[in-house]
């Protein structure tokens, strides 16, 4: 039964990876840019969530878990706005500057976001107020699903489904898919490429910010470095599924969460991160397009 328990935990962590990986994969899809700042936007989601929650709770004597709902909306909107600003300031001027310049610029943004978080909130671990924590859960056999896990999974899957429908069924979604194929031709078809890219930078960081808050709620505490490790893992998930591919990011995230948790459970928790990196290396060496990615010849 330990296996079942590990699976449940793995899927929960996998859901977090998916939410963050979607941001990487969508940005890569339209810009062919690895948004190194995405992990730090995720980290900002955790901090903004904390600030808005404590702000809300300061008005009442006794809070409840429902207070997390408006906080999540605040986080989604704020981080999305930061994401769009980052794109406008640091990436858009480099749209035609080759591949090296945007990478450096993205790393620079990551430095700025991290340094700001450390200076504003301090370097110590932060914890979420206990009022909003959920207790309780269900058990079947020796495996146990906490109420928190259920809610996390419901929220994650809901967001994924909405995103999938948005990309597949709406006009903006169709335009997004067109832009990811070819900017110039999309422009000829009357698509405002700059606007579509801005939309991607609204959705990706928005989801990433929500993930940051949920992860912080789930684990209880976090600090300003959480974005880097979590971001890199989510990025591995995106590559695993095939970068630029939205269903790929979902499968990759789940798979990485499960494999990592099983590896940590059965082998050694110390080597958990190494497992993730080795998966990344193996995937890139043997199947660089990922599980669902199409085989495209790399442009020379």
């Amino acid at each position: 039964m330990q296996f079942l328990q590990q699976m449940i935990n793995g899927i929960t962590i996998g859901a977090f990876y998916v939410l963050v990986a979607l941001g990487y994969t969508m940005v890569y899809g339209v810009l062919k840019l690895i948004n190194f700042a995405h992990g730090d936007l995720f980290m900002w989601g955790a901090y903004i969530g904390l600030t808005s929650l404590t702000g809300l709770l300061s008005f009442v004597a006794q809070g409840s878990a429902w207070f997390a709902v408006p906080a999540i909306i605040v986080v989604m909107v704020t981080v999305a706005i930061i994401g769009v600003l980052v794109e406008r300031i640091a990436y858009r001027p480099l749209r035609n500057a080759g591949r090296l310049a945007p990478v450096i610029s993205a790393l620079g943004v990551a430095f700025i976001l991290q340094s700001l978080a450390r200076n504003i909130y301090g370097a110590s671990y932060k914890t979420y107020p206990q009022d909003v924590a959920l207790s309780g859960g269900f058990s079947f056999g020796s495996a146990r699903v906490s109420l928190m896990q259920v809610i996390v999974l419901v929220i994650s899957f809901l967001l994924m489904a909405v995103l999938y429908l948005f990309v597949q069924r709406t006009r903006i979604g169709t335009a997004m898919r067109a832009v990811s194929l070819n900017h110039d031709v999309s422009r000829l078809m009357g698509i405002d490429v700059d606007n579509i890219i801005a939309v991607v930078f609204l959705i990706g960081p928005g989801l990433g910010g929500v993930a940051g808050m949920i992860v912080a709620l789930y684990y209880g505490s976090f600090d300003f470095t959480v974005g880097w490790v979590f971001g890199l893992k989510a990025f591995i998930a995106a590559i695993l599924g095939g970068i630029g591919n939205i269903p790929g990011a979902m499968i990759g995230g789940m798979l990485l969460g499960v494999v990592e948790t099983l590896g940590a459970g059965y082998l050694s928790p110390q080597w958990k991160d190494v497992i993730a990196y080795v998966i990344l290396i193996l995937i890139l060496v043997f199947r660089p397009t990922g599980l669902l990615g199409e085989r495209v010849a790399e442009k020379v």
């Binding site: 690895i34 640091a90 090296l100 610029s105 943004v109 880097w228 080597w271 060496v285």
Partner: protein, 335 residues
Amino acid sequence: MKDLLKRFRSVKPLYWQGGLLALALVLPVPLGDYYRSVLWRTGLYIMLGLSLNIIVGYAGLFQLGHAAFYAVGAYTAGMLNIYFNVPLLLTLPLSILVAAILGYLLTRPILHLRGDYLCIVTIAFGEVVRLVLVNNIFGITGGANGLSGIDRPMLFGIALREPIYHYYIVLLFVVITIFASQRLQDSRLGRAWRYVREDEVAAEAMGINTTQAKLLAFVLGSGWAGLAGALYAAKITVISPDQGKFMESVILFCIVVLGGTGSIPGAFVGTLGMVTLPELSRPLKAWRDAWLGVAMVTMMIARPEGLWPSRHVRLEIESEEEAPDPSLAVTGGSG
């Protein structure tokens, strides 16, 4: 300004190079130990920057895990000294060797990857190396605390303890590095690298063994970073896995790119900006990363070729701006 530069260029290189060397020789003499250590660190990072410059600048391969080899060099020197009592100066060639072999083993399977993908795998390799050191593999790396109690290097029976000795050792190696970099740049191999960087398929078609050229860039660059690691171990005598962390790799990468890819003076300027100035402005340390970030973003927007670009790279960027989009030309031709 242009005239001034031209006049500066017309001075025989030997004169101003000699002048700079003389300045580097006397500079630490009037300074205190702290500033001598800062100079030592500057020299060390110039070495590291130039070693990465071979990979990123000459061969155009994105390496974002370079600090791993720096750490491996330091650990090789430290472990040989602690467990086998090998004198530190003797560990230097061995550190080069171990780092170069590791560079070969790690990069051999991933040479076919390009651009972003290569960059990501190198991050993963760097992190794996660091985690292996942190997890105290075989119980010999000392875990997260690292190793301490490395002997001082001995030269002519004197234990080299003062920062100034270490400064001169590093200076010697910096001079060697510059000389070697310059010779490499214009050698047959250097020209092959430049060709691979500009157009790999064309290079292959011209009979250049691109796999071998790229591999040599990685091996040489990694080995040289290993040497820098051993020199670090010799002065600090305490080593930890932090040396291999991603942040260090990013700093090295930025030294090369912000200074000017492929440019030797660029590595100097880059080191001054990324290492020396932040070190001297310790009181402002809290905001240091933010400023570095702002500098990186603005540099990429305003001056993507770096502060002191190499002639080749600048010409490439300038010609790219003028030339029509090659992809359009191809479609037009085939239609």
